[in-house]
């Protein structure tokens, strides 16, 4: 009996130590909210509001992912800027089932608004409905197909993002030359819209550039190795090509590697979606001119601003200003009145790549 007692105590003791350590960590994090790193530029509009005692939870796809760690910085800054209790939670792996579990717990914490970046929009729909039945305001990001959300906020419209990539490519190529486009799959809706947007921008604004006749668009199958091989083939069979539009985050580093290996640095240029950490060395050695993306910290911050506006009875409409540079003029989607888009693209090159750690 004595031994048993000791062991039970030991197990419980260990459990408590760990959880108390956990609470301690939590306390520190809460305290550091006051001095949250300033990662997002905002105007007064972002922090205005009638009440402060809102509780806003942000649930992301995966809390072990650098992209969402960056988003959390934005959410923490929002909490520090406004004094509102806004915080981020997420499962430890990208698993729709685990995310539903987290949401199920979070909606029981007397929260007023829930912002979700769904792993799988269909899978979270039932639990989002439960949240709305409790009177919680629900906002999604990258989840425009969710039926049970008040609004979906996207960083940009697809054509606009494509045009932005083209602007940067034109600048890198010096306004002259032939280019082609790469997507993960020809069936991928958003990436093809980006590529179409880029081509449309070139046709409208940059007569010095030409789209390669054949192939106009190549596939990387969302695989950086494949992107590298395809880019090499294109460069060998069409030496006139001096520019690439990459859309998937796998395309861009793959193409840059091909440029580097064939010794075409400074002669052939690529601009496209990419992750700073993955592309850092390629950007620094000059094989990759610009990577384009949206800043998850801004998206996290913007969702919280939007949630508070809805809680305080303001309407979200065409032209609504969320007080962030990328979200100062929201545009409503033509097909979906609940889908709002910002202009949240950013370009990263040699000069600012070290500011982004994800």
């Amino acid at each position: 009996m004595k031994l048993k007692n000791k062991l039970v105590t030991a197990v419980l003791g260990a459990l408590l130590c760990v959880t108390v350590a956990g609470c301690g960590g939590g306390g520190e994090q809460a305290a550091s909210n006051d001095s949250a790193e300033h990662v997002v530029e905002t105007t007064d509009v972002a922090t205005q509001g009638a009440k402060k005692d809102w509780k806003i939870a942000v649930v992301v796809k995966d809390s072990s992912n650098g992209w969402f760690a960056r988003m959390e910085q934005g959410v923490k800054q929002y909490a520090a800027d406004t004094g509102i209790n806004a915080y981020q939670k997420g499962p430890v792996s990208t698993d729709a089932a685990q995310q539903v579990q987290v949401i199920q717990d979070v909606i029981n914490q007397d929260i007023n608004a829930l912002c979700v970046v769904p792993v799988d929009p269909a899978a979270v729909d039932p639990v989002l409905q439960e949240a709305r039945n409790k009177g919680i305001v629900v906002i999604t990001h990258e989840g425009s197909t969710c039926k049970n959300s008040d609004y979906d906020l996207e960083a940009f419209n697809n054509a606009g993002y494509g045009a932005f990539i083209m602007d940067k490519l034109q600048e890198s190529m010096g306004g002259q030359g032939t280019y082609t486009t790469m997507v993960a799959h020809l069936t991928n809706a958003s990436q093809n819209e980006w590529a179409n947007g880029a081509v449309a921008e070139q046709e409208a604004k940059y007569p010095g550039l030409h789209l390669l006749d054949n192939p106009k668009r190549v596939e990387s199958e969302n695989n950086s190795e494949k992107a590298y091989q395809v880019a090499k083939e294109v460069l060998k069979s069409h030496p006139e090509v001096t520019g690439f539009v990459g859309t998937s985050s796998m395309d861009t580093p793959g193409i840059a590697r091909a440029i580097n290996e064939l010794g075409l640095k400074g002669k052939v240029f690529v601009v496209g979606t990419g992750m700073p950490n993955e592309c850092r060395s390629l950007i620094q050695d000059g094989s990759l001119s610009y990577i384009t993306l949206w800043d998850p910290a801004e998206a996290g911050y913007a969702m919280c601003v939007m949630a508070r506006m809805i809680l305080e009875g303001k309407t979200i409409e065409n032209g609504t200003n969320l007080g962030l540079k990328s979200y100062e003029n929201l545009v409503v989607s033509k097909d979906n009145p609940h889908l709002f888009m910002g202009a949240g693209w950013i370009a990263i090159n040699k000069d600012n790549v070290d500011k982004y750690n994800f």
Partner: protein, 334 residues
């Protein structure tokens, strides 16, 4: 006091788990008060654990015979994908509500049979062909997941009749439907494992394959039964997920595999086979879910702490079991 001690000594493992359960409950209630003790929190908890709880019981059955079933999540998803594939094709807007219920019933029975068949494949590979359980089920896991990916093209299957999600999201007498499903199959499992002849034979098989053979048991048949139970319970879990997410996909709950092994071991099932009981596993499921919900109540605590706590618990349990078995060996040799 004597009576309490007698009860405690009757099943030390279970008593220990109940003490841990009560302690965790007390800590949660003390630190979070009304938020933790609310009806809606318990209803949430009742919706959350059934899907992985059923998988943990499935896993426990196979650990019981010194095996393992890594394909539980794959079987769950493949069964759910089949249902999600068939239902929208069979049910049209013109189908009468009664007919929809009949079709749903048949589809669910079909899914359960299919899950059992998947389990039979595992049992055949392990019992008849003689492949090590961990390798056999690693293989079938890839096979079943692969089939689900091919059937869905890797995307999510939705468009289910609204009865599926509404039914799984409902409460009956205040009890969430997933909880009721879990309770039924958990009780059945306790009965099979602890009261039935099959459970007794499985324990023999888990203790020693040779002894089981020489006792005149048909080991192939026992392995088949064991993995068919596991496949059946996995399919039940798959249907719960189908309703909870109103959709099916090849990789829902992929991270549950490791978690359910942990729960089964935490519940006192000896991975070397032959020892452990279902009641312990069920209490372990409650403990795990309670800690996880409690941690999610803290805004600043990352879910990584959950992993740390699981890890610490698992290692402590393994050390404890080792110490106890060494002690028993010494006693026996005296």
């Amino acid at each position: 006091m004597g009576a309490i001690q007698r009860v405690f000594n009757k099943d030390k493992n279970l008593s220990r788990l109940i003490v841990v359960f009560l302690a965790v409950f007390a800590v949660c209630a003390f630190m979070k008060g009304s938020l933790f003790l609310s009806v809606s929190n318990f209803q949430s908890i009742g919706k959350q654990f059934p899907e992985f709880g059923l998988l943990a019981i499935a896993m426990a059955f196979t650990l019981y015979t010194a095996g393992i079933d890594l394909s539980v999540v794959a079987v769950a998803n493949l069964s759910a994908v089949l249902v999600a594939k068939i239902l929208p094709a069979v049910i049209t807007p013109e189908t009468s509500p009664e007919m929809v219920l009949v079709i749903l019933f048949l589809a669910f029975i079909g899914a359960l049979l299919f899950g059992t068949l998947c389990g039979a494949i595992n049992g055949f590979l392990i019992g008849w062909v003689g492949i090590t359980p961990i390798l056999a089920t690693l293989g079938t896991q890839a096979l079943f997941t692969g089939c689900a990916i091919v059937l869905t093209n890797g995307s999510t299957l939705g468009g289910l009749p609204k009865e599926v999600a509404n039914g799984m999201g409902a409460n009956v007498l205040g009890l969430p439907v997933p909880f009721i499903i879990f309770a039924v199959f958990a009780l059945l499992s306790v009965f099979v494992m602890e009261k039935s002849t099959l459970g007794y034979k499985l324990r023999m098989l888990g203790t020693s394959v040779k002894a089981s053979t020489f006792s005149g048991f048909n080991n192939v048949r026992l392995f088949l039964a064991n993995y068919m139970i596991s496949g059946f319970l996995s399919a039940v879990a798959g249907l719960v997920m189908l309703g909870r997410f109103n959709s099916a996909k090849a990789d829902y709950g992929a991270s549950y595999v490791m978690e359910v092994i942990l729960i089964a071991v935490l519940g006192g099932v000896d991975p070397y086979g032959g020892k452990g009981n279902m009641k312990g596993v069920i209490i372990a499921i409650f403990i795990v879910q309670m800690i996880s919900s409690w941690l999610n109540m803290y805004e600043g605590i990352s879910n990584f702490y959950r992993q740390i706590i699981w890890g610490v618990l698992l290692i402590l349990v393994l050390i404890y079991n080792y110490v106890v078995s060494e002690r028993e060996k010494k006693k026996a040799s005296k």
